[in-house]
């Protein structure tokens, strides 16, 4: 409705004197309107809108670390003599993007938001799956970008570079999630420390990377399978609602 139509509409309405409203009828009208409003609400939240809202609440460091890892690859992956050095470099750069992944995924448990999140409309399992989709996509995109940069500079096989990238990523996440379950980690600092240690093991152990050269496919697949199992376990725990059984 434009301004002119609005004015015309208001003018027409002003021609009639409205009788004073009956209090009871007014309340009934309000109640009926509220009911109609409630019934008109879509019961299921569309996946896209859920993903968009969740993306807004993923910690900024996680996004920044993905960018940092790609940027570091772009800036510092020059002049390697052979594939061994490329591989070592991947083992240094991938832990940067992996460092914040597992802590971000399980942060509701660490910060005591789990109980409240479980009582909200969208189930914890649904939220966890959306988070996994978002964070996983960002991680895969960053690793793929790293592999593409290295491929363009060293003519290496893209799939092999991806496999080199996924191995440290999977292992760091496995280590962090396992430590959380085994040692019942409940603080963010402890969890980030575990993730940091796992990342540093790869950074400082990057010289040993060639040892895995021949077994890289097997190691990647194995670590991916292990990570998938751990994530499934983590989601199951969340949806199984066992993490907050606190005797009051």
């Amino acid at each position: 409705m434009n301004k002119k139509q609005e004015k015309q509409f208001k003018g027409q309405l002003a021609q009639y004197a409205a009788p004073p409203p009956d209090g009871q009828k007014k309340q009934r009208a309000i109640a009926l309107a509220q009911m109609a409003l409630k019934e008109s609400v879509v019961a299921k939240t569309p996946l896209l809108s859920l993903a968009r809202s969740q993306a807004r609440h993923v910690s900024k460091p996680l996004w920044l670390l993905q960018l940092a890892a790609v940027l570091a690859t772009w800036l510092f992956s020059k002049g390697f003599a052979d594939m061994r050095q490329v591989q070592s470099f991947i083992f240094i750069v991938v832990p940067i993007l992996a460092f914040y992944t597992a802590p971000e995924f399980v942060k509701s448990r660490i910060y005591g938001m789990g109980e409240l999140e479980m009582a909200c409309k969208n189930s914890p399992a649904k939220i966890a799956a959306v988070k996994l989709l978002l964070i996983g996509t960002a991680n895969i995109a960053a690793i793929a970008a790293i592999a593409l940069i290295l491929r363009s500079r060293y003519q290496a096989d893209f799939a092999t570079l991806l496999a080199y990238g996924f191995m440290p990523f999977n292992v760091i996440n496995c280590a962090t999630l396992s430590a959380m379950e085994i040692f019942k980690i409940k603080t963010s600092y402890a969890l980030l420390s575990v993730s940091l240690i796992a990342s540093l093991v790869f950074v400082f152990g990057s010289d040993a990377a060639p040892l895995l050269q021949n077994a890289v496919t097997g190691c990647s697949l194995g670590s991916a399978a292990l990570l998938a199992m751990l994530l499934a376990f983590s989601i199951k725990r969340t949806s199984g609602r066992r993490d907050i059984l606190i005797w009051n």
Binding site: A31, Q34, V41, V42, A43, K44, T45, S49, L50, S53, Q54, R56, H57, S59, K60, K107, S108, Y111, G112, M113, G114, E115, L116, E117, M118, A119, C120, K121, N122, S123, I127, S188, R241, I244, L245, W247, N248
Partner: protein, 293 residues
């Protein structure tokens, strides 16, 4: 709308937190009163479908809440006892996050969040990080998020813990204006919270529902057992060691005692109208003693 709990039991190993609890809730304000460890929080979690009962059932209008799933939680507002938040959250982003989890989006979420933050007196602190909030402010934010989406069932676990008297009054007024047409269940061990706003009071002890009704009805059981006496300080000292004394007030050189006793406890004692605090003392004296120990 009727929320019905039938023979609800929840065990943690050998411990029974909620024991054969049956009750029906219609739209009004309920105050769940009990000592620490009475099973209130477990009951709240069961009602919110966060915990599964060991046995028994919870239904909304005859349908099990677990099978209602999202359509049940859509009607639910919950303020847990422990307030959790992510460290980077401001009050505003916290409300936006909860709104997203509740499936409320866009301008509706922003407007409602703004209105609720104003209602709990946090509009000036909307852009401040929650970690800088006092306990009372965090509690108020917890109440505001629970009311997001105008839920038909509002569950508040110890909502007034940490609030100062002025904030308490404000909270009571807020709940009273929100409550019409809704089921509001608030658990507390602070008697005055429920005395003012709850239309019906439920008392829990060791996981069981021991009494329910309005304040006048449920205090009827101790109608003849509450006394007041003004005595000398030494008598007051002896009395408080051997009797159930609800209140001690010094008045000049004398002491006014409020005593729970089936028979006249002291010479000059007069029978007075019981209140909820007396009833609480009557039921939870043992619990209070064990807490004190």
């Amino acid at each position: 709308m009727e929320l019905s709990l039938k023979h609800l039991t929840r065990k943690y190993g050998e411990k029974i937190a909620v024991d054969d609890f049956s009750a029906a809730f219609a739209p009004k304000v309920y105050g769940l009163l009990g000592a620490n460890g009475a099973g209130k929080t477990t009951l709240m979690r069961l009602i919110c479908d966060i915990l599964k009962p060991t046995s028994g059932s919870i239904t909304l209008d005859g349908v099990g809440i677990s099978s209602l799933d999202e359509s049940y939680r859509e009607k639910l507002g919950y303020d847990p006892q422990r307030f959790g938040y992510y460290p980077d959250f401001t009050a505003e982003s916290y409300m936006a996050y909860i709104a997203a989890l509740k499936g409320i989006g866009g301008a509706a979420a922003r407007n409602e969040a703004r209105w609720l933050l104003e209602a709990v007196g946090l509009s000036d602190a909307a852009k401040r990080k929650i970690k800088t909030f006092s306990g009372g402010m965090q509690k108020r934010l917890g109440i505001a998020q629970a009311m997001l989406g105008d839920p038909a069932i509002l569950i508040l676990d110890e909502p007034t813990a940490g609030l100062d008297p002025k904030e308490r009054v404000h909270f009571r007024n807020l709940i009273s204006s929100f409550a019409p047409g809704k089921i509001v269940i608030l658990s507390t061990h602070i008697v005055s919270d429920v005395e003012y706003i709850a239309a019906e009071i439920m008392m829990m002890r060791q996981g069981r529902l021991i009494r329910r009704g309005d304040a006048r009805t449920i205090t009827g059981i101790i109608a003849d057992s509450v006394w007041e006496a003004v005595v000398a300080p030494d008598v007051a000292e002896r009395a408080s060691a051997g009797m159930t004394v609800g209140n001690i007030r010094h008045e000049g050189g004398a002491v006014r005692l409020r005593i729970l006793s089936d028979k006249k406890p002291l010479d000059g004692a007069v029978r007075v109208e019981p209140n909820l605090e007396d009833l609480y003392l009557h039921y939870f004296e043992e619990a209070a003693e064990s807490c004190a120990e």
